[in-house]
């Protein structure tokens, strides 16, 4: 685990492994502190890198979930809603055309 944390490559680890490494890293940092020792710089650095990556992946996951929900919602639109949307689009285009011909 120590070597894994030291040499962590973000392209080769999944979220599960990252969470495990963060848990280990935090425990390691705490042990240094409990023993009144100064933790090596790399511990803090690796923890930062891992937490940043986890947050980024969490954002990615949320974006994906949102897009999926929006896509599913789109399939539930009624013909009436679609017609209203198209009418609104047509009205906007007519407005722009009218503005150009003035």
């Amino acid at each position: 685990m120590l070597q894994e944390l030291k040499n962590v490559n973000l392209d080769r680890v999944d979220e599960e492994q990252m969470v495990a490494l963060v848990t280990f890293g935090e425990q390691l940092a705490k042990s240094y502190s409990d023993l009144d020792l100064v933790a090596p710089e790399w511990v803090e650095e690796k923890l930062k890198v891992l937490k940043r990556e986890l947050a980024a992946r969490q954002r990615d996951n949320l974006e994906k979930a949102l897009k999926e929900v929006q896509a599913r919602r789109e399939t539930l639109r009624t013909a009436e809603e679609k017609r209203n949307d198209l009418d609104a689009q047509a009205a906007k285009l007519q407005e722009r055309l009218a503005a150009l011909t003035k």
């Binding site: 490559n9 392209d11 080769r12 680890v13 999944d14 979220e15 992946r57 954002r59 990615d60 996951n61 974006e63 994906k64 949102l66 897009k67 999926e68 929006q70 896509a71 599913r72 919602r73 789109e74 399939t75 639109r77």
Partner: protein, 507 residues
Amino acid sequence: MRKSVPAPTEAGLTRNQMVQELARSTHGKLEAYVPTATRAAAEDPEFLGHLIAWNEKNGQVRDSKVALPVVYLAKRKEDDAELLDNALAHMALLDPRNLVRSIHFAHDLKTPGAGLKIRRMVERYLRAREANWAWWERTAVQHRGSLKTLYAMNHIKPNAMADLIVMKGKKPTGTVFEAISQLKTMSPLEAAGTIITRKIPFLIALGALGEKAKDENLVLALIERMTPTELVTNTKMLERMGVKDKPALRSAFEEGLKRAAASKKATLKTTRAAESIDDEKLKAKLEVLQEKQLETMGGVEGNWLVLGDKSGSMESCIETARHIAGLLAKMVKGQVHLVFFDVTPTYYPVTGKTYDEIKKTTARVGANGATSIGCGLMSMLDRGIEVDGIAIVSDAEENTNPLFSKTYKLYSERFGKQVPVYLYKVGHSPAALQQMRSVYGLYANMGVDTLTPSMAADGFDMQTFQLGDDVDYYSLPNLVKTMRTQRYGLSDEVMATPLLTLDAVFA
């Protein structure tokens, strides 16, 4: 358990040989299975029956799943109702496209006395799907052409819905067929939602969308619908579509990789896909995926020794030995030792290492010198390292002492057991032979396998995988997977796999 037919004698085909021969990929050439499977059908039909069942559960090569039941039907010496039913049941497990392939193959081989049984099986196959709309719809979406062929070539009358959709190509209102035909005219968001909610298969959706498929919402939906194999084989396309840079796509791809990691199907294709990717990040992800898939494959256990021949012109042995060591290191929980030899051994502990790591560690190993396979094993004896199985990668042209068979005898006495020995026999291309002649001149036993006869003369068993002079590295996982630390372990495993019945398939 049925009464077992004795395994063939040394004059025939051993059960391990049957499994190993049939674990090879023939790259679509079904007829390549005929010689071995024909002998198996004649010499040990019950084993072939169980092998068909085992292969269906554990095999990675689809062609063998298509070919073996048909070869059994074509080459059986006598009618055994249980084995016949087993072969037909395994044909009935194929998807329509491969069932059509197997029937064409059966026509080519001729299956005397089984033609009507095949036709009846196909009718049950089609009727079972017709009786379950969701199953039938799912099948017809992906295999309309093959279903049409199955109805037509077997003169089976489709039911009304099948006739309308498969034979006449209609798309009834409210069905998924109508939805697919409308994908092109929908907004990208609606099309994406339709693909996800109607579970439209990736290839069908991709074909229906055309150019529109590049839209981010649609790429996301397509990734969701990809099978593990489709995900790895289309990674390059996904890279072009922004899977690396767009957050939602990145997340979908990661999720797809997680699904693929649990799959036992795509291992060979993952290797190929990883090699074709230029982007280092995606390449690393696919390599990790392959390592996970290898761990999932399982089957091989214990501590292993890989003896890699690095004598003159044996470059392909060096590379093959690295691959085999890498595969074993991922598959087994035990230790893996790699020894390269000419007339002196060089030892590398490779437990838990990836192929890439092994390649880096052994980068300076070059091919030259004479051949003493025994010196590799002698080095293990000197170190007191006990293994449960040995894989030799060599041309088997041993010409220098200590000979392997003699050292193997000492090794067996020292540890009180005869561990299984597997020979991955690599051939020489004409160019390599020419080079050897020019470098070393003509020497005794040039081009002659001396290892096999010396092992036989000393009364030791050895399984041989013929790799030829152009090693297909993608087939290696299949071969490695069949290695066992108990001599007859694999054969026992195969025989323990229950035969299948048509009633069980259609239950």
